[in-house]
Amino acid sequence: MNNKLQYEWAAVLDKTITMCQDDEQFHQYSVREKMLALVYTFLQNMQEQETHFLEMLHQHNGIKRLDTSYLKDLKSGFESYVTGLVEEGRNSGEIQGRPFLARFYMPVLWNAFVNILYFWANDKSPQREHTDVMVEKTVHFTFDLLAPNAIDSGIDLVQQYLKLKQ
């Protein structure tokens, strides 16, 4: 894989992270909102070299999607930043720490992100507004999976029950 291409993806991400960090508003967001902001800003920054990125994504459309080696640098950048977000979410209680499932968190978030990129590349709606809807739905969905939910309360209840019974 061409190193230059690798670099471009990572550069967009770097720029995105810097923009987010510099934004006062960003620091008041919940982790979920930070993720949304990250994705929107990323897409907005891709727009600057739209044709170029479109071409790359189109080349890898279809079955070739499985080969994400051309996104390798982006992936590691994404993972290291988002790991921080997940950590923050755990501390704030927005994300549930589940010992056995936690290692799937990152693949879920990364795959969701890549899906959005391909959706963006194929979006023919005016101003790509369908992508906006996708971003909202995807991020809400993935974060609902990571958030403490009914299963956790169920486990919690059973644990409490067993504990109190003793």
Partner: protein, 439 residues
């Protein structure tokens, strides 16, 4: 108003609303009237229809945006849907999804090219009101208080597919053929598209604001084109209480009359002078100021009627035309209420029905003042509506008639009269509008 007073007449007004649908025999009215038949308990297949209604509701409640709009439109026209469903839809209004704060930022970036913090001195990231197709934020700039309306993404271009999604259920529920209601669905679709186009709303709003300058006690917010786009609408923030609250709490009849008069004058003037009017006058679209002046919000649903339709429609309210059978027939044919190919029996039925409906409906236009709290007025409308519903002739496809332009005109009048009824208002009627109408 005492509770009892409030209870009985409200349902009367609701039922009277059927007349606006049935008596004029406008096609869309027929749809609704058939719906009444459908939900009527003593019908054989009522069980099946109940199920259809339930299914229709279940499906629609899953939908957002334009489909929700359609559902609300139907439920607002009280009587089209069974009351229980209508109430559910009314509540659905508040449960539309809210845009996340980052999407609000993103939308500004996309359509204005700047972030809200750069555009305004202050901007509330969280919406202060949610509506069916958008949400309202507060902002200020250079000391001006502003309301900023943001549209949900994807709403506009889902209209067509939403209608197609809803249509089969709708047809089955109402027991109708697609070709019978095609023109009316087209009309709905056209209005819904306009409603999602904030550039249009901006244009109408600015036009109406200028127009309303000449109408006493009517206030329309200032609009800011430079801070608006297809998906963002920025206007002056208006202070006032919701019209419904005013209706529920105001004790001074002269203040109630003042607000009612402003509303009546506003609609009459825009219909008669512009042939373009606010086609969605429900209490949610108005505020009342401390001085009992009427604030008109939301020009999303504005209907323009062709001059030719306008003349033949309102000519019916003039005695000299109404009493001249040749002229009367000309008008009714223009409005597609009578047709050339009608059998003598059909002709007699539709003609007689139309004549009585016109007599009933145009009653407020016949004197210099009219008391809109008058129960008798609505009762007569209601009685005729019931009578029409009992008549099988009106359930045939050949009874599907009437210009598509009448739909929103009736909707506007129905909305207007319901509000005036609730205000219990006695109002001056400006009849000089009819002077120039000749056929």
């Amino acid at each position: 108003m005492s509770e009892q007073q409030d209870k009985i007449p409200t349902s009367k007004v609701e039922r009277a609303s059927r007349v606006f649908r049935t008596s004029m025999k406008v096609g869309a009215n027929y749809i609704k009237h058939t719906a009444q038949k459908v939900v009527n308990k003593d019908l054989d297949d009522s069980d099946l229809d109940e199920k259809n209604a339930e299914a229709l509701f279940q499906m629609m409640s899953q939908l957002k945006g334009s489909a929700l709009k359609i559902a609300q439109m139907m439920s607002m026209d009280n009587g089209l849907l069974p009351k229980a469903y209508a109430e559910k839809f009314a509540k659905a209004q508040n449960s539309a999804m809210a845009l996340s704060a980052p999407l609000v930022m993103n939308t500004f970036q996309k359509y204005i090219g700047k972030r809200p913090q750069e555009v305004f001195d202050h901007f509330s990231v969280n919406a202060v009101h949610a509506a069916s197709i958008g949400q309202v934020h507060r902002a200020d700039k250079d000391g001006l208080q502003l309301a900023v309306k943001l549209q949900y993404p994807g709403v506009a271009d889902s209209i067509h597919s939403d209608i197609n999604l809803v249509k089969p259920m709708f047809l089955r529920f109402l027991n109708l053929k697609e070709k019978d209601i095609a023109p009316y669905l087209e009309e709905f679709e056209e209005r819904l598209h306009e409603e999602c186009d904030y550039e249009k709303e901006l244009q109408y709003g600015m036009e109406m604001a200028q127009f309303a300058d000449s109408i006493p006690h009517v206030i329309i917010p200032r609009y800011y084109p430079a801070l608006s786009s297809k998906k963002i609408l920025t206007m002056e923030w208006m202070e006032g209480i919701p019209l419904q609250e005013f209706i529920d709490t105001e004790t001074d009849p002269s203040r109630r009359n003042k607000v009612g008069q402003a509303l009546l004058d506003f609609l009459h003037n825009s219909i008669h002078r512009l042939q373009r009017f606010h086609a969605d006058p429900h209490p949610g679209n108005f505020l009342v100021t401390k001085d009992a002046e009427l604030v008109v919000l939301d020009f999303g649903c504005v209907k323009t009627i062709p001059k030719d339709f306008y003349i033949h429609y309102f000519a019916l309210a003039k005695d000299d035309i109404f009493n001249d059978e040749t002229k009367l027939r000309t008008c009714l044919e223009h409005l597609d209420m009578l047709r050339k190919g009608d059998t003598p029996e059909q002709d007699k039925l539709f003609f007689d029905t139309a004549v009585r409906a016109i007599q009933n409906i145009s009653k407020p236009m016949k004197s210099d003042t009219f008391y809109f709290g008058d129960k008798d007025f609505y009762e007569q409308l209601q009685a005729q509506g019931e009578e029409i519903m009992q008549n099988k002739e009106f359930r045939k496809p050949s009874a599907m008639r009437g210009s598509r332009h009448a739909i929103y005109l009736h909707r506007a009048f129905f909305g207007l009269y319901s509000i005036l009824y609730k205000l219990d208002a006695t109002l001056k009627i400006d009849r000089h509008f009819f002077d120039d109408i000749q056929v």
